[in-house]
Amino acid sequence: MIELVDLWRTYEVGGQPLHALRAVEARIPAGDYVAVMGPSGSGKSTLLNILGCLDRPTRGSYRLEGQEVATLSDEALSEVRRHKIGFVFQSFHLIGRLSAAENVALPMVLAGVAPAQRQQRASAALEAVGLAARAGHRPAALSGGESQRVAIARAVVMRPRILLADEPTGNLDSASGRQVMELLEGMNAEGLTLVVVTHDPNVGRRSNRVLLLRDGEIARIVAGRDLAPDLVAAPEPGAPAP
């Protein structure tokens, strides 16, 4: 369960306050499947980072499973990230010098899981994404789709409550993309809360609900199946980075 109340995120840019998020209100029940959409600079990434406890709101409340996390210390936030949140990124972010299994084991290393258990759990997670045979390979030897599946295995290996995916299919061809989305949705079906940031209306349409962001505000919330192409403004070319 995610509850956002009057959430603001303000940056100082050249002495001027820039509101990346304004008065965001949202409730995402456990096990939900939500897409966050909107043009570049609408605040999608900022919202995702706050949901992922990588960033704190300037103002407002963020309750994660009943715990107020907006005011937690850095150490406490890293603890929340470790145990409750899994991340999947557009560009995979696998560490090149580590094998697939070692990449998957990394969150357990940070969390202090015993080495014997790490190996076993990493193998199980790789098996769950269908890559048990690739455990010893370095990321350079994996295809894009395989890399993203390794990243998903890494995201869920600590059994988080929430999976945050930032354009998970953005760097993949459509077949690999579909495979990745099916994998994520399968995990959602088993009770994992899934939040996907995307530009892709095809991805948005598969979700339960779509949060449409515009200028840092939630402009509309629509059911995924009702998502009309015109609701999602195409990203403006050369739009300023947030």
């Binding site: 900022t46 960033d55 890293s78 470790r82 990124f89 010098r97 969150p107």
Partner: protein
Amino acid sequence: MTAGDVFGFAGMALVRHRRRSLLSILGVTVGVAAVVVLTALGEGARRYVVREFSALGTNLLIVLPGRNETTGFFPGAGGVPNDLTLDDVRALERGIPEARRIVPLAMGNETVSHGERRRQVAVLGSTPEFREIRQLRILAGRFLPASDLERGAPVAVLGAKVARELFPDQSPLGRVVRIGSWRMRVIGVLEGKGEHVGLDIDDMVVVPVASAMRIFDLSSLFRVMLEVRAFADLDAARQRVIEILAERHGEEDITCITQESVVAALSRILAALTLALAGIAAISLSVAGLGVMNLMLVSVSERTEEVGLLKALGASQSQVLAVFLAEAVLLALSGALLGLALGYALVQAFVALYPSFPAAPPVWAAAGVFALAVASGAVFGVLPARRATRLDPVAALSGR
């Protein structure tokens, strides 16, 4: 995250950038090796000097006329002291049963000649026991004869070089040389020994002490050397020497130092020199530390995304700090180990080339420089590691 995990992770990052890491490690290696080699040479010099002086025996007392230890050689400043005389020597012989040998020394420079050949040399007046105290060997003939202190026999023992110069193609034994206006018969030649702690034994003529005092018209001895039977008696004997001479002279106007204190003073001076060498060499180590810092800064900025990822996966600030600090410490540690190995190898090679020079790095220097190198890795690693912890994971991950 256990320490093993931290160092394992950091180690892999270093291995990944082998060439870059090696260059940084090399910087530390050179710094550490420099400290090891330079302190080994300094320590070698100290040991060499201590060994040479100790060869004279540490049971020695040296009595000089004059009160002030620093100007004791040249009485005059601060009152005129009484002469140190042969009667004083006799009084010491009577009053100090612990003494095994008491050897008076009188000294001066004079021209020694034989026929047309002449040479300006140090003329030393002493007794037969000077030979034992200085451990001199006789090449030909004999050393000074045992006789009454005051009886200055007209005999001389030549240093090896003096003998060579004055008698290039004949034996000097039994010949007469002139020392100033005095004629002395050569009774022996010393074996060549080379420079011997400040006294060129080879370029010297030894005559009976009374003869030397006559030649130079001296009223005072240059020194009296006193060797005690046991080292334990040294302090008591020194006290007795001061008491006896103070009583005879009516005031305490002599200086009595132990050979041991001379050795200790020289040892201290050379140890300080070694420390200074270590300090100079340590400067190169700080340069190596900067190299480590530079590498780590590059490493952090290159791995911005990785830092962001680690944070997203639940790494705390302190874990990120630990990983990058561990990298810096590993660099410094491997550099320090290699440096110790290289330094000791160079010292070994030096000792193999010059076996008489006892070069060896003092343990404090080796241990100190090792600790310093590793610590400098940590210190110079702090800044880059802190930079890594401050990276904004949001920006880091998006690569924007």
